[in-house]
Symmetry: C2
Subunit: 405 residues, 2 copies
């Protein structure tokens, strides 16, 4: 059963909607300085240039004796080199190489004998030495602006003597669940009322993206109330997300409420699920109206909110797409980008992609039972059994695959 | 320049070391109940059975009129069905279907006319209805013990009326950096002293794995001091990690210190980097002695600490391996599992794996410049240019690829 246009007279292609949306967003993230131990996952607001060499000196790569390489020339087990012990220096791994020395002989290839060191192997110049600047050379750029700081970035910066880094301010999002039928959990569903649950997931997804997310109160399906809240939200938050009321049915007032106080850039996107998504702005702040259906909300979040956050932070993630063989045919409606939930099975040397059969956009189980999504482009009418398909794990970004940059 | 045995007379294969280690660990994680809004990323300690159907009632999938399907039989634009408006019920998306009705006609396919509703299309029984239990049926198992709770798991549980879930207690790790040459940062390296930086990265990696991690004070290369600290650590922490002093040189006293108060299960592993890693136990608590070299510490962390945490928590991640073509030959030493840092480039329809040239285990830059690791099994002598190689992103687990379960 196709969803059809669902009342939309025109659907905007994803890429077009994104480009218009992006061009309307004026928001730039501020910059702040934070101590390294608090900088994990933050996005660099500056290129980092190495202030010193690393290692800062020539250092020994192992436990042994610092020597002059030429003195070990031709040494072997049968023809050891003999050096006065006063002319060698015992060093441990990581020790700075004393001045005037240019190689290290491993301890196990030496023996001290009556004032002399016997050396059983020749070493080349700089043999077993980690040379000054070998890891990082002073003045080189080691991390780029826009990088999301990872565990070893912090260790490297610490090794170089850094204490603080400049990072972009954390973006703040506010989420408004909308729907008179929603009640604050815990709540057991009745015929007319149900617990509001999607904001919990959207909040978690925003936090995964490094944002501070706050869930606002549940709003009733009343245009004026919603409009008022959104204006106030645009003053305190960087990004506003609404959940629910985005179709064009009688009770779907969210987009009308946004129109009253802002500008709707696109409503009705050529994607499935997620068709009723709207992209808008209020006072220059981005507003993303997500469906109240969990799957549609998730798919539109991955499609539009993730690139938005990265765009503002100037941080671009790596595409992680995995190709696998489809275990069964996947139908798709041409003219729409289709997102199909699936599981992945590893069969020794190849991945099998198993599409989730029941995949209505209202089904939580299609999200909790799947591990990722197959993306089927607009021009394609479906993928055959055994076809190679692109699979993206739910926790990885897929917007680079859609060409949204 | 091969590392050779580096003083180890025997190297234990990874799988063998892991199996022995695992069999010696008696640790089981306790269980606690937490509110759903605090449960993200926690590991379920129970199977979750749906206490109700979801949706709990038959609900309308769209805005329209609830009807009896048979009354729309053969209806079309030219031959509309006519039903008394008293016999239909207007419903919005998500509304419970009133008793006695079995289908919904979309609003746009109807028109109200003088007490009658004209219907321009037939609907099948249960057409446009999300049936009771369609998403989740009461009594079915929806989430398994050992599952790391994801955003939509929480939304689903909330929709089912849950308030709390039983999860495994968060494991506590303590990290001891060891080395008389180390100083607490911020500190600029001198010829003899350098800032201790690796614990910051290891702490972050442990936190990514859902643990609580604490960095202990820097310990000097003194057997008795280290032994004493480790015994106390085994009383307060679940997992103990040491950093540094694991080789068998003169100043490498960590493993000796562990031996004094516990049992060393393996020291010297057939892997590169990470050869000097030791696996041990003190009072039944797992102790993992990582190299002081950042790359070796990271590789051994991914190889042994990640499966350990998941084993204790009974949580098993999905393997995420990506195959790509090697941009250049990668040499490898047979008899060792080789871990080679690399970058990934997406070339339209295939991944190119670009190995990082300078990959000594002391190099921070080989970690910060790479995105993942190529794993080369023991029996393989190297991989040729253009060969298909398995690439795993640094943030994804690779131990399932090694067969450590």
């Amino acid at each position: 059963m196709g969803e059809g246009l669902k009342g939309f007279t025109k659907l905007t292609p994803i890429v077009e909607a994104w480009r218009e949306f992006k061009s309307e967003i004026k928001l730039k993230s501020g910059v702040e300085e934070v101590p390294l131990f608090n900088a994990l996952g933050r996005v660099l607001a500056e290129d980092i240039i190495a202030p010193i060499d690393l290692p800062p000196f020539n250092t020994s790569a192992l436990d042994g004796y610092a020597v002059r390489a030429e003195e070990t020339f031709n040494a072997s087990r049968y023809n050891p080199a003999l050096i006065d012990v006063k002319h060698v220096v015992k060093v441990s791994t990581g020790d700075a190489l004393p001045n005037g020395y240019d190689a290290v002989v491993p301890l196990e290839l030496t023996e001290a004998k009556e004032g002399f060191l016997e050396i059983y192997s020749s070493v080349p110049k700089w043999g077993n030495v980690n040379r000054k600047g070998f890891d990082v050379s002073k003045g080189s750029r080691i991390l780029n602006k826009g990088r999301k700081l990872r565990p070893w970035d912090l260790a490297l910066l610490t090794s170089l003597g850094f204490k603080y880094v400049k990072v972009f301010r954390v973006l703040r999002a506010i989420i408004y669940p909308i729907g008179s039928e929603l009640r604050t959990p815990p709540f057991l569903p009745t015929e007319r009322l149900r617990p509001e649950s999607n904001s919990l997931a959207i909040k978690a997804l925003l936090e995964f993206k490094g944002m501070k997310a706050k869930v606002g109160e549940i709003l009733k399906d009343e245009v004026r109330e919603i409009s008022g809240k959104l204006v106030r939200a645009s003053e305190e938050a960087d990004i506003i997300i609404t959940l629910g009321g985005t179709s064009i049915g009688g009770r779907d007032v969210t987009v009308r409420a946004v129109e009253n106080v802002g500008e709707v850039i696109a409503h009705g996107i050529a994607m499935r699920p997620g068709k009723p998504t709207a992209l808008a702005k209020i006072e220059g702040k981005p507003v993303i109206c997500l469906s109240g259906y969990p799957v549609a909300a998730f798919i539109a979040f991955k499609t539009f909110v993730e690139p938005l956050v990265d765009y503002i932070m100037r941080s671009y993630p790596q595409l992680k797409v995995i190709y696998g063989k489809l275990s069964s045919r996947v139908p798709s409606e041409p003219g729409l980008v289709d997102f199909v939930r699936a599981k992945l099975r590893w069969k020794g040397d190849t991945y099998i992609i198993v599409p989730i059969r029941r995949s209505g956009s209202s089904l939580y189980s299609s999200l909790t039972r799947s591990e990722g999504t197959i993306v089927i482009p607009e021009g394609v009418e479906g993928l055959e059994e055994n076809a190679l398909a692109p699979f993206i794990f739910h926790e990885d970004p897929w917007y680079p695959y859609l060409g949204l940059t």
